[in-house]
Amino acid sequence: MTDMLTVLAPDGATKKGFEADLPDAELLHCYRTMLLVRSFDEICLKLQRAGRIGFSIPNLGIEATQVGAASALRESDWIFPSYRDFGMALYHGIPAVEMMHNMFGNAEDSAKGRQMPVHFSFVEPIHFYSISSPIGTHLPHAVGAAHASKLRGEDTVHLVSFGDGGTSSLGFHSGMNFAAVWKSPVVFLCQNNGYAISCPSDHQTASDGYAVKAEAYGMPHATVDGNDLFAVRQAVLEAAERARRGEGPTLIEAVTFRMGGHSTSDDPTKYVPAELVEEWKQKDPVDRFRRFLERKGLLTPEQDEAMRADTLAEIDRAAKAAEATAAPGLETIFSDVFAEVPNHIRKQGEFLFDLSQRRGEADAGDGEFPL
């Protein structure tokens, strides 16, 4: 692999001359966000195993990439996330309970229970773009949104996050190309976590890593250690500054490793060599950052323990609240197809509402079909 930027060593030491550009409280916020992600993962896994939610996506091992990247953005910037970017949302203060509403697909879910779990969508406090399942389609969206910002003369940056597998998608090719030609203020963040479901990198591409793909588009690129929060942050900050200066997009490859399965439906032992998992365990991004904080005197083992208990409790509360929330109403099947419900859809809604009432189903609500 070509030079990979690393700042933080596994033992928590930082490269000579490196000075964290974040205030202590921010450093602790980064750490706490990573713990929140772990807690979110842990609780979702339990909920899924217990059959209380249908599906989740493990984030174990990639927390530093998410949080490092998010920390480099302003609230006026937009994030075009992948389904594996819990940390970006949590870093920017999206309440865990909002995310849990989506995991349960309940009435409070901002997507109104229409999407699978982990398909979040928020506009506040930051634009955390509506996740869709098809891989790579959101890259051109980020470019288009960035183009709009640019035309209006704003200094908004649009960060789009995707996986190693995502680089093979159509959206990667068109998004990268359009962004480079238009000099759009976009940061392309490729999270190379080793696998696309079961497909390892050597079956995904013959290139040496993913950053080099930017060459095809005349776009600058950087490769960073994805388990090093500072390295990711620095690369994204630099790319964002370039974008704000009107100098166009950058591709960043964060080299990391998916320590869990692809999803709760996946058994990675079928295709991931155990040695590889062992090897990456040594590079755990959360441990690394914890050691850094300990060295810096910002965290004691006791404080760490307390923070872990606290984040777990926070997520647990969020899950309980979400689970206690009712399912969406029947009308949510029919609204938001268009801004206004056209006649043929309204009739289908009335039909279903009537049918459910005849069936005596509670979720039909009372009286008339409300749309």
Partner: protein, 325 residues
């Protein structure tokens, strides 16, 4: 009022909204200095600047994908797909993204955008410059599908589409681009996106059509009246989605005899939906089988396209068949 061809009306419609609304941007392959391969965007770059009308790389996926992004962030993109036959590389962006964005985000993100694209046969374009894909898009929940057949409607429907809060596929009958001319009001006006247009009144046979088939049907209807005294009620659907279903059913009931005409292949074509609506809602009014006059269930040929495309003779045959049944 000006007397314009259909393509001039499209150009006029674009100019009208671009003048009124800074957020409208027009882009696609060759729409800039060249003015588009059919000249629909002629002069727009010169008159509004490169930031309002610009060329893109050769990627329909990129054109539609970036349009979705622009739309969600405050612009009103009007993307051109050079020929409807080349929309398929963007099918995923249209069907999975533009059409589903509002729904999947609970209304937090939306894609108010227009995809303009010339469609249909009659220019000796063979398999890949002649197709009519309306059925693919009308079947996709979340998309509006609009097809004008007159210069007046072309401008009015286009302006309505650009101002609409939802993604609209605006299919332009390229065979009519220069073949029809008509009065077009100056300045801004809109034509409602869910009302059909009654082209000709008549009590014997109802004919549904749209786009380039409208003049064909008009000719056939005139011949039916002349030769056989059969009076046809001719309906131009204009907005295929959302469809004016009440209007469609009303028209069917008026005659009890129905012909549906389109260029696209028959099997699972748009005409099937019209037949199905009738079979579902007013079968008891029907005095004859519902006849479809359509392209054949083959790819589009080149040399023999005049045999492939429905013409007035085929429509007349069908009129007579349902009338004489």
């Amino acid at each position: 009022m000006a007397n314009l061809t259909l393509i001039q009306a499209v150009n006029d419609g674009l100019r009208t909204v671009m003048k009124a609304d800074d957020s409208v941007v027009v882009f696609g392959e060759d729409v800039g200095p060249k003015g588009g391969v059919f000249l629909a965007t002629e002069g727009l770059t010169a008159d509004f600047g490169e930031s309002r009308c610009f060329d893109t790389p050769l990627s329909e996926d990129g054109i539609i994908g970036t349009a979705v992004g622009m739309a969600m962030n405050g612009l009103r993109p009007v993307a051109e797909i050079q020929f409807q036959d080349f929309i398929f590389p963007a099918f995923d962006q249209i069907v999975s993204e533009a059409a589903k964005l509002r729904y999947r985000s609970g209304g937090q993100y939306t894609a108010p955008m227009v995809i303009r694209t010339p469609y249909g046969g009659g220019i000796r374009g063979g398999l890949y410059h002649s197709q009519s894909g309306e059925a693919y898009f009308a079947h996709t929940a979340g998309l509006k599908v609009v097809i004008p057949s007159t210069p007046h409607d072309a401008k009015g429907l286009l302006i309505a589409s650009i101002q609409d809060p939802d993604p609209v596929l605006f299919m332009e009958p390229k065979a009519l681009y220069r073949a029809v001319k008509g009065e077009v009001p100056e300045g801004e006006y809109t034509v409602d996106l869910s009302t059909l247009r009654t082209v000709r009144q008549g009590g014997d046979v109802t004919i549904y059509c749209y786009g380039a088939m409208v003049p064909v049907v008009e000719r056939a209807a005139a011949q039916a009246a002349e030769q056989r005294g059969i009076e046809c009620l001719v309906v131009d659907l204009r907005t295929l989605m959302p469809l004016d279903e009440e209007g469609v059913l009303e028209a069917a009931k008026q005659t009890g005899r129905v012909v549906v005409v389109h260029e696209a292949p028959r099997f699972c074509g748009y005409g099937a939906e019209i037949s199905a609506l009738i079979a579902e809602h007013c079968i008891e009014y029907m005095e004859a089988p519902v006849r479809r006059v359509t392209g054949f269930d083959t790819p589009f040929p080149n040399t023999l396209e005049h045999h492939y495309l429905p013409d007035d003779r085929r429509v007349l045959d069908a009129i007579e068949a349902v009338y004489d049944f």
